[in-house]
Symmetry: C2
Subunit: 307 residues, 2 copies
C-alpha cells in the first residue's frame, strides 16, 4: 500500500510576504496556475492583513478569487486575527490558518498578545466561521513550537498544553511550526507523538524550516511518526534566508523529490513543479531561488511514486 502525503504550498503567502519586492497580481496568478498544474492541491495564497502593514498582500481577495477557479484546490489564507478572518471568509477561502506562538516571549513580541489572548482570538474566529461559513476549516499553526530566538528552549509541555487549548477553542487542526529553525529530528518525533496523544487526528501539518540544514530530516522524522501534511515553499522562498544557500522554508522541490523517491505519493509532478519556477522567477526578477533538486535534475532511472 502506497503512503500518501499532502504538500501544502505556502510560497504565495509565506514566501511573498517575507521579501521586499511585491509580486504583481498577474504574476501571482500565473505562478499559482503553474503550481496547480504541477499537482499541488493545497496552496496558502495570501495573508489578510492591513495593506499598509504588508503591501505585498494588498491584493489578497483578488488572488483568492483567482485560486477559487481551480477545481479541487484547497485555497488557504493566513489571518492574524478576527478582522483578517472576516475578510478572508468574505473572499471565500476554504481554510484559514492562524499562527499562535508556543513561546510567550515570541507571542508578546510578535503580535503584542499573550498566548491566552491569542487562544481567545481563535475562539472568536471559530465562532465567526461557525455562524457564517461552517464548511471552512480553521487551522492553528503553533509557531516557535521547537524553540524561540527570544526565550530559547520552549518546553514540550507548553506546546502540548497549547495544542489542547486551541482544539478546545474549536480548531479543526493544530500544526507545529519550526519558525526559528531550531528543531531536530528526535524532538520532532517526540513532540508530534505527544501532541497526537493529546489531540489525536486534529494533529496538523509539519511546517519546518531549513535554517540549519535539517529541514528535510525533520520532515522525515515527522513522517515517521505519522504526519501526512507538510508545508513547504517553492524555491525555499520566505522564512528567513540570511546567507547564500540558506533557505528559510523547506524547498518544495526537494521535499517532493524526497517523498516520491521513497515511493510516497505526493500527487505532484516533479518536471512540472520545476517548470513552475519560471513564472515565479519572472514575477520576482533577481530574487534568489533555492533548491538542490532543480539544480541537479532528477536522477537517471527516477520513477515517481504511484498510488
Amino acid at each position: 500500500m502506497t503512503d500518501t502525503v499532502l504538500i501544502s504550498e505556502v510560497g504565495p503567502r509565506d514566501g511573498l510576504q517575507s521579501i521586499q519586492a511585491t509580486m504583481p497580481t498577474a504574476a501571482k496568478r500565473a505562478w499559482i496556475d503553474a503550481l496547480y498544474a504541477a499537482g499541488l492541491r493545497e496552496i496558502e495564497v495570501a495573508s489578510f492583513v492591513p495593506a499598509r502593514l504588508l503591501p505585498q498582500m494588498a491584493d489578497a481577495a483578488e488572488v483568492v478569487r483567482h485560486a477559487l477557479t481551480k477545481p479541487g484546490l484547497t485555497v488557504m489564507a493566513l489571518v492574524p486575527n478576527l478582522r483578517g478572518a472576516e475578510a478572508a471568509l468574505a473572499a471565500g477561502v476554504h481554510k484559514l490558518t492562524l499562527p499562535v506562538s508556543a513561546s510567550e516571549a515570541h507571542s508578546l513580541a510578535n503580535v503584542r498578545k499573550s498566548r491566552a489572548d491569542m487562544v481567545e482570538e481563535l475562539r472568536h474566529v471559530v465562532r465567526l466561521r461557525d455562524a457564517h461559513a461552517p464548511q471552512v476549516k480553521v487551522e492553528a499553526g503553533l509557531s516557535t513550537a521547537f524553540g524561540c530566538t527570544l526565550q530559547g528552549v520552549v518546553p514540550d509541555d507548553d506546546v502540548v498544553r497549547l495544542a489542547a487549548a486551541v482544539v478546545e477553542a474549536g480548531v479543526d487542526e493544530a500544526g507545529l511550526s519550526d519558525t526559528t529553525g531550531m528543531a531536530n529530528p528526535a524532538q520532532v518525533r517526540r513532540l508530534f507523538t505527544r501532541v497526537r496523544a493529546e489531540i489525536g487526528p486534529r494533529t496538523g501539518a509539519a511546517h519546518m524550516h531549513n535554517t540549519r540544514g535539517l529541514g528535510l530530516a525533520n520532515c522525515l522524522a515527522a513522517f515517521d511518526v505519522g504526519v501526512r501534511t507538510f508545508d513547504s515553499s517553492q524555491g525555499g522562498l520566505g522564512g528567513c534566508p540570511f546567507a547564500p544557500g540558506a533557505s528559510g522554508n523547506v524547498v518544495t522541490e526537494d521535499l517532493v523529490f524526497m517523498f516520491e523517491a521513497m515511493g510516497v505519493h505526493t500527487g505532484v509532478d516533479l518536471p512540472r513543479l520545476m517548470a513552475a519556477r519560471e513564472p515565479l522567477r519572472r514575477g520576482l526578477p533577481g530574487e534568489p531561488l533555492y533548491g538542490m533538486t532543480p539544480e541537479a535534475g532528477l536522477p537517471k532511472g527516477f520513477v515517481a511514486a504511484t498510488v
Copy 2:
C-alpha cells in the same frame, strides 16, 4: 543511555582532491590540527595516487606523518589499488579505504576494472596488510551503492552480493556510498538493513552526498537502522558542487549539529568545529564553503550531547 556516533572527516582527502586548487602542505597541517582540536578522531587525510594524476595529493606521505602525531586520531587514507596501499602502509596509516563500485558501468568507466577485478585487488591489499601491518584496518567503500549516473538504478542484490564478496576478500568493514546523490531515506534503511543481515558488524560507514538536499535525511535514516559511522566534509568541500548552495559531501558542521541537537554524542565541539573553517579558508582562498549551521550559528539555549 546516550547514543554515540563516529564522524569520519573526509575533507582533507575527498574535499581537497575534488577541487582545482592545491592546498599547501603547511595549510593542510593547520587544518588537520584544527579538526583534531574540534574533537574529530577519524580523518581521511590523503589519497595515495600518482602525483601526476592528482597533484593535490602529492604530499600524502608528509600529511600522514603529521596526522600521526595526534594521540587517539585514526589516520585514514584512500588507496585505489595495491600500489597505493604499499605507499600508504609505508607512510604508517592506521586505516585504508578502497572504493569498489557497485555499478559495473561505473567501475569500468572510473577505474577501468570490473567489480570482480576490484575485489581481487582488494584481496591483494588485504594480503599485503596481513603480511606487513596486521594492525591496520581495511575498509571497502561501496560506491554508487544507491544509483549510478551511467546505468541508473543499481539493484539492491548487487550491493548485498558485493558486500559479501569484499568481506570474503578480508576487509574489516564495508560502507555504502551515495556517490551520485541518488539515495533516498527509504532506500538507505532498506539497503543498510539488508547489508547488515548479510555481513553483520562488518557493516561500515554511511557516506552520503547532499546533491539533491537529502544528505542529512539520509544520514538520519542510516542512524535509524543502526549505522554509527558517518563520513562528511567540513564546509561540504568535495563531492560535486555544481551550484550555489549545492554541496556534494554532507557538511560536517550540519551533521554534527543534527546529532548533538538530538542528544547523540559525536565528541565534536561545535564552536571549535566552526573555528576550523578559518584555517580551511586561509588554505583555499576563494573556494566556496557550504553549511547552514555556520551561517545561522547555534540556537539560543543549545546544549551539546553528553556521554
